[in-house]
C-alpha cells in the first residue's frame, strides 16, 4: 500500500494500526528516513519531542533503506537485509530483523535532541529496559532473540539527555533478531503471549479484513481507493484506554491526534454494513455530554478529556442518511429509550445557548469553530451569526429525535412536538434565509455577502426543500468555474476575491467533508446525476493525490489571475496530511453516492 516505490509513501500518511498508539512516518526533510512516535499526548509530529529515528544497521552501521507497508506490517530493506515492524492493539509492537539490526535514536522534532527521555534503565529481572518519557509515557524494550544495547548520554549542564539510542542486533549465528517494545503510561499492560511473528502479521491483515466488512463495496473502479480509505479509518481507531472509554476514530494519527465528536458521525455514515457499529459511533460522544446543559463537548485525546468547545449537531444528518439508506431497524426500543433524552438535550442545548433571540429555534453561532468551518466566509461579518447550515443540521436532528421518540416506550408523545419544531424551522430557513440564489447567513439581520460553498449545505435537507430551491442549488453547484472545479467543489467560489489555497481550510480548497455533505444532499434531493458527477471528480482526485483533507484546485486564483498561495510543508494543516475525516467522506461517496 505504501512504500518507497509505491504510489503513496508515508510522508503524508503514517503507518499505524487500529488500537495502537504507535505510528511511523517518513521524515519530510530527510526523505528515506522513517520516524517513530506515539499519539498519547495529541502533540503533532512536527513539534513532538518524542520521535525516534529508525535506522537499519548492517554490521552495526546505518544503511539506506527502502520500505513497503501494508495492513500487516512495515518492511525495511537494504540490499537484502531486512527489518519488519508489526504493530498490535495490545500496547506493544514487534520488530524482527534478518541480516539487519535496528537502531532507534531519540531525536526531537523541534531540535531539542533527546530531552523527552527522563531516564532509561535495565529492569532487575533482566527482562529488558524501561524508559520514561514524561507525558509521552513509558517504553519497555525487550529482546526476544538476538542482542540488545542501550547508549545514553546525560548532559549535566543542560540537565537532559543528549543521546538515547537503542540497538537491537542480530544473533551472530542466526543473523536474526526479534524484539518487542511496549508502550504504557505507568505499568506495563497485559499483552498475553508473543505469538509467532508471521501469525501476528497475518492476524493484522485479518483484523483489517474484518473491519472492512462494515463497509459496503465501492462503485466499480474504486476498489483500490476504497481499500486505502478503509485502512486509514482502521488505523486511526483508538483502543479503549485513557480518556477513551470506547474506541473512537482519531482525526489524524500523527498531527491533530484527537477525536472530534462530529467526525464520529461522519464515520458512522460509511459503516452501512454494520449499523450497530454505526449507531455506536454516533452515540459514543454522548458519554461526555454535559448533564447540566446538554452540550456535547469538543475534541479529546488519550490524555485530555473532552471538556470545552463544541461541534455541529451532525448526528441528525448522519442518522437521516442511515435511515434513508438502510432503514431504522438497527435502533431497538431500548436504544431509542436510552438515546432519546440525550439527543433531545443536545438539540435543546443549541436552541437554549445558541438561540438567535427571536423566540424560536433559529440558531446563531458565536465562533467559526462551532460551525466546523473554521474560515468559511459565511462568518466574515462576525458574530453572532445566524447560520443556515446549523439550522439545517438542527432540522434533521429534530426529526431524528422525533423518530426516536416514536420508537421508544416512554417518549412517544414527544414525536409530534419535535416534528412541528422541525417543520417550523424548515419553513423559516426557506422563507428568511434563502435569497433566490443561495442560502444565506445573517449578522444583525443583515445578509452576509458570502460566496462560501457552505451557503449550499442546506441541500442536505433533500426533498424537504421546494423543487425550485433544489434545482437552483444543483444548477449552482454544477456550473463550471464557480464552485465546481475539475476536482470537486471548492469551499469558496473561484470568482471570490477571498478564495485562498494557502493556510486555509474551507476558504477555497476542495475539502472532502463539504463534498460529501453536498453530494449526499443532492442525492437525497433527487439529483443523482449531479451528485455522482461531483463525487467522482473528488474521488478520482483523491485516488491520484491521496486521502488528504483539502486540495488546492489550481495554481492561480481564477478571480484575479494571481499565483496561488502555497502552504509551506510540513505543517500540521488539513491540506497536507492524510486524515480519517477525508477517508470516511471518500467511503461514503464511493459506496453510496456514486451509483454502482
Amino acid at each position: 500500500m505504501f512504500g518507497t516505490y509505491e504510489k503513496y509513501n508515508l510522508v503524508r500518511c503514517s503507518f499505524a494500526r487500529c488500537g495502537s498508539n504507535t505510528y511511523i512516518a517518513e521524515d519530510f526533510y530527510r526523505q528515506g528516513l522513517l520516524r517513530l512516535g506515539n499519539n498519547w499526548t495529541g502533540i503533532s509530529l512536527n513539534i513532538s519531542d518524542f520521535m525516534f529515528d529508525i535506522r537499519l544497521l548492517i554490521n552495526g552501521a546505518p544503511a539506506k533503506y527502502t520500505y513497503f507497508a501494508d495492513e500487516g506490517s512495515l518492511k525495511l530493506d537494504a540490499r537484502g537485509a531486512e527489518l519488519e515492524f508489526a504493530l498490535t492493539d495490545r500496547s506493544h509492537f514487534r520488530v524482527r530483523g534478518r541480516g539487519a539490526g535496528l537502531r532507534l535514536e531519540l531525536r526531537s522534532a523541534s531540535g531539542k535532541g533527546a530531552r523527552a527521555c527522563r531516564g532509561l534503565y535495565a529492569l532487575a529481572d533482566g527482562s529488558g529496559w524501561e524508559g520514561d518519557f514524561a507525558n509521552f509515557g513509558k517504553l519497555f524494550f525487550r529482546a526476544i532473540s538476538g542482542n540488545f544495547s542501550v547508549s545514553t548520554v546525560f548532559d549535566d549542564d543542560k540537565n537532559e539527555y543528549s543521546l538515547v539510542r537503542i540497538d537491537f542486533m542480530p544473533d551472530a549465528i542466526t543473523g536474526e533478531f526479534e524484539a518487542a517494545v511496549h508502550d504504557y503510561r505507568d505499568h506495563i499492560l497485559p499483552y498475553g503471549e508473543y505469538e509467532d511473528f508471521d501469525k501476528l502479521v497475518s492476524d493484522n491483515r485479518a483484523d483489517f479484513a474484518r473491519f472492512s466488512e462494515i463497509y459496503r463495496n465501492p462503485a466499480p473502479g474504486y476498489e483500490e481507493l476504497a481499500k486505502y480509505a478503509r485502512w486509514v479509518v482502521w488505523s486511526h481507531r483508538t483502543k479503549a484506554i485513557g480518556c477513551f472509554k470506547e474506541p473512537q476514530i482519531l482525526f489524524q494519527n500523527a498531527w491533530s491526534c484527537s477525536a472530534a465528536p462530529w467526525q464520529q458521525s461522519y464515520n458512522a455514515m460509511a459503516m452501512l454494513s454494520d449499523p450497530a457499529e454505526a449507531w455506536r459511533m454516533i452515540c459514543v460522544v454522548f458519554s461526555n455530554q454535559d448533564p447540566r446543559t446538554g452540550r456535547v463537548p469538543g475534541f479529546m485525546s488519550y490524555a485530555n478529556p473532552a471538556t470545552s468547545g463544541l461541534q455541529p449537531a451532525f448526528q441528525g444528518f448522519a442518522l437521516d442518511f442511515l435511515f434513508r439508506t438502510i432503514g431504522d431497524s438497527f435502533i431497538s426500543e431500548s436504544e431509542a429509550e436510552r438515546m432519546y433524552p440525550k439527543l433531545a438535550a443536545w438539540a435543546n442545548y443549541w436552541t437554549t445557548y445558541h438561540s438567535a433571540g427571536f423566540g424560536d429555534d433559529v440558531l446563531a453561532l458565536h465562533s467559526t469553530h462551532e460551525s466546523g468551518w473554521d474560515d468559511s466566509s459565511l462568518f466574515q461579518d462576525g458574530f453572532p451569526a445566524v447560520d443556515p447550515c446549523a439550522m439545517a443540521f438542527q432540522i434533521l436532528l429534530m426529526e431524528v429525535i422525533a423518530r426516536l421518540a416514536q420508537k421508544s416506550s416512554s417518549y412517544r408523545q414527544e414525536h409530534d412536538g419535535w416534528m412541528t419544531r422541525a417543520k417550523k424551522l424548515l419553513d423559516t430557513l426557506i422563507s428568511e434565509y434563502w435569497d433566490g440564489e443561495k442560502f444565506i447567513a445573517k449578522v444583525n439581520g443583515k445578509p452576509v455577502d458570502s460566496l462560501s460553498l457552505a451557503n449550499f449545505q442546506p441541500i442536505m435537507l433533500g426533498k424537504r426543500l421546494p423543487p425550485e430551491i433544489i434545482d437552483k442549488v444543483a444548477e449552482k453547484l454544477t456550473a463550471e468555474g464557480q464552485w465546481l472545479t475539475e476536482i470537486g467543489l471548492a469551499s469558496e467560489s473561484m470568482l471570490s476575491e477571498r478564495a485562498t489555497f494557502g493556510v486555509s481550510f474551507v476558504c477555497g480548497r476542495v475539502a472532502g467533508p463539504q463534498n460529501m455533505i453536498l453530494t449526499v444532499g443532492l442525492q437525497a434531493a433527487g439529483k443523482q446525476k449531479e451528485a455522482e458527477m461531483i463525487a467522482r471528480r473528488f474521488c478520482d482526485h483523491a485516488a491520484r493525490e491521496g486521502i488528504i483533507l483539502g486540495y488546492a484546485p489550481y495554481n492561480i486564483y481564477k478571480a484575479n489571475g494571481k499565483t496561488a498561495d502555497q502552504q509551506i510543508p510540513p505543517i500540521a494543516t488539513d491540506g497536507w496530511t492524510w486524515s480519517s475525516w477525508s477517508a470516511n467522506c471518500v467511503l461514503t461517496m464511493l459506496t453510496e453516492v456514486i451509483a454502482k
Binding site: W255, F299, T307
Partner: protein, 503 residues
C-alpha cells in the same frame, strides 16, 4: 499585607478564582491561571505576560501610574491623581475594577484563535481556556469585535472604559462555557473586606510559629493561599505558581500538608495524589500520628495506610533487585530534585540513601497505622522491615564520612550528593550518634534552602541537634522577612519546620 514584593512572581489574585494580575517590568497584566484543554489548535497561545494590559488613560493617551497591592486590594494611581482599584469577587468569580481613571484593557496583540463579541450587556473575550466576560456596572465600554476570517481570530481586543459621572465599575468574569453570569451580591468594598478576612482566617489555619514571626507567616501564607487550584468536585491542590504553572504532585502536597493545623485539610493534601517517589508522604503521615490528627472513626487511618502501602509496595516490587534489599531510584526525577543527583554518575538504577531513609520511615509509619487498625500481624511485618532497612542503610551506604549511592547492579559507589547524602538525617535518633554529628556538620542554611532541604533541619531536631535546627529555622525565617518567599511549598516546609522546632 503588602504583596508588592511578589507582584512580579505570583501576582495579585485569590485562592478561589483563576484571576491573576501580574507585574511585568512595571506593567500590569490581567491573566487567568492555566487550565487543561483538549483539542489540537493552540487556542489562546500567546507570548505575552497576560491577556490584557492595564493602561490608565488621560486624554486618550496612556498615563504613567504607580500602584500598591495587598492580598485583598490593588490600587493604581495615575500621575494626575486618578485611581483604579481591583479586588476579586470570589463568589462571582469576577475581578472587580472600579475607579475614576479611564482605563484601557489592551490585548496588545491577539492570542491564537481568540474570538470576541460585544453584546448589550458586555464583552466576551474567548481564547482557549481564557474566557472573560467584561460588563460595566457603571461607566461605558468601547470595544471592536471585528472577526478576521483569514487569520482565524478577532482583532486584538482593546477595551476602553470611561467613567460615568466621574466613576466606573467593571466586572471581569471568568466565565465557563454556557454558564449564566453569576449574580453580583456584594459591593466592591465588601468583596475587598471579605477577602482580607478570608486571608486572615487562612493564616490562622496554618501551624503556629513564634509570634515574633507573624509578619513572616503572612508573607509565606500569601502564595500558599493564592496558589490553590480547584480540581472540581470539591478537591483543591496547591501548585508551584498559579500564574503560569500547574505543577504539583504527591511529594509537594505531602510537604504542604505539614503546614496545616486542620486534620481534614492535611489528610486531604496528603492523599491528593497517588504517593510517588520520593515517598515524603511517610514523613507527613508520621506528623499526623505524632500530633494525633488521625481519627479512626472517619476511616482516615485506612485511607492513609492504603496510600502509603501502595508506595511501599512499589518500592519493594519495582525498585529493588531482589524484593529484600535496599531500594533504588530508576530515574533522576524520582529524587524530587530538578537537577540530576550526583549518585546517577555511576549509572542507573541507583540505590540512594535518601530514598531508603524515606522508606525506613514509610515502613515504620505503616507499622504504626496497622497497629492502630489492630492488624498486629501487618504491624509487626512493617516494623521488622523498617528495622532491617535501617541496618542496611548504614551498613551499605555509609562510607564513614558520607552517605553515598551505589549502582544497583554493579555496586559501584558514587560520590556524595550535596543535599541527598544528608537526607538520612530525617531518621533522627535511629542513626548512631557519630553519624548524626557528621551529618549535622554539613547541614547549614544554604544546604537547607528549599522545600525538601528544610526536612533536613527537622531531622536534625529529631536527632537531638535542636539548637542547630532552631538556628536554621530562624535564619530561614529572617531570610523570608528580608527577601520574601519564592515558592509556596518552600514556605509550607518552613512553617512546618518552625512549628516543629520553635514552638
Amino acid at each position: 499585607m503588602d504583596i508588592k514584593p511578589v507582584m512580579s512572581l505570583f501576582g495579585f489574585g485569590h485562592r478561589r478564582t483563576r484571576h491573576i494580575i501580574i507585574d511585568r517590568e512595571g506593567e500590569l497584566w490581567l491573566k487567568l491561571a492555566p487550565a487543561p484543554q483538549g483539542g489540537f489548535l493552540p487556542m489562546g497561545a500567546t507570548p505575552l505576560p497576560g491577556t490584557l494590559r492595564v493602561e490608565p488613560l488621560e486624554d486618550g493617551k496612556v498615563e504613567p501610574f504607580s500602584y500598591s497591592a495587598s492580598e485583598s486590594l490593588l490600587k493604581l494611581v495615575t500621575d494626575s491623581g486618578k485611581t483604579a482599584e481591583f479586588t476579586v469577587d470570589g463568589d462571582a468569580r469576577a475581578l472587580r475594577i472600579k475607579g475614576n481613571a479611564p482605563i484601557r484593557l489592551n490585548g496588545v496583540s491577539s492570542a491564537s484563535f481568540v474570538t470576541t463579541s460585544k453584546t448589550e450587556t458586555g464583552v466576551l473575550i474567548s481564547a482557549g481556556t481564557t474566557r472573560y466576560f467584561i460588563a460595566a456596572k457603571k461607566g461605558s465600554i468601547v470595544f471592536d469585535d471585528t472577526y478576521i476570517l483569514n487569520k482565524f481570530r478577532s482583532v486584538t481586543p482593546v477595551l476602553d472604559v470611561f467613567p460615568d459621572e466621574g466613576e466606573f465599575e467593571l466586572c471581569a468574569f471568568d466565565i465557563a462555557e454556557d454558564m449564566p453570569l453569576p449574580a453580583i451580591t456584594n459591593t466592591f468594598e465588601e468583596c475587598a473586606s471579605e477577602n482580607g478576612a478570608e486571608f486572615k482566617a487562612f493564616v490562622d489555619s496554618l501551624v503556629d510559629i513564634p509570634s515574633e514571626y507573624g509578619d513572616v507567616k503572612e508573607r509565606i501564607a500569601y502564595p500558599i493561599w493564592l496558589c490553590h487550584r480547584d480540581l472540581g468536585r470539591g478537591a483543591e491542590v496547591i501548585v508551584t505558581n498559579k500564574y503560569d504553572s500547574v505543577m504539583s504532585g504527591s511529594r509537594l502536597m505531602s510537604i504542604a500538608s505539614m503546614a496545616f493545623k486542620d486534620a481534614k485539610t492535611a489528610i486531604g493534601m496528603l492523599l491528593a495524589y497517588p504517593v510517588e517517589l520520593p515517598p515524603i508522604a511517610g514523613i507527613a503521615a508520621a506528623r499526623l500520628i505524632e500530633e494525633n490528627m488521625l481519627c479512626d472513626s472517619r476511616g482516615e487511618i485506612y485511607k492513609v495506610y492504603a496510600a502509603l502501602e501502595a508506595a511501599a509496595s512499589k518500592c519493594v516490587k519495582e525498585r529493588t533487585a531482589d524484593r529484600e534489599g535496599l531500594c533504588f531510584n530508576a530515574y533522576r526525577f524520582e529524587s524530587g530534585l530538578k537537577r540530576s543527583p550526583e549518585f546517577f554518575k555511576v549509572g542507573e538504577p541507583v540505590i540512594t540513601p535518601d530514598l531508603n531513609a524515606y522508606h525506613v520511615i514509610l515502613c515504620e509509619v505503616l507499622g504504626k497505622l496497622a497497629n492502630m487498625e489492630y492488624d498486629m500481624g501487618a504491624g509487626k511485618k512493617w516494623e521488622a522491615r523498617s528495622k532491617v532497612l535501617m541496618s542496611k542503610v548504614i551498613a551499605e551506604l555509609w562510607d564513614g564520612d558520607d552517605f553515598i549511592g551505589k549502582n544497583a547492579y554493579t555496586g559501584d559507589a558514587s560520590k556524595p550528593d550535596e543535599l541527598l547524602s544528608l537526607m538520612p538525617v530525617i531518621l533522627g535518633k535511629r542513626l548512631p550518634r557519630e553519624i548524626i554529628l557528621k551529618l549535622a556538620a554539613k547541614i547549614n542554611p544554604q544546604v537547607t534552602d528549599s522545600a525538601m532541604g528544610l526536612l533536613l533541619a527537622g531531622g536534625l531536631f529529631d536527632a537531638g541537634e535542636e539548637d542547630a535546627a532552631k538556628s536554621i529555622a530562624r535564619t530561614a525565617l529572617e531570610e523570608v522577612r528580608d527577601n520574601g518567599i519564592g515558592c509556596p511549598f518552600h514556605g509550607a516546609s518552613l512553617l512546618a519546620l518552625a512549628h516543629k522546632v520553635l514552638m
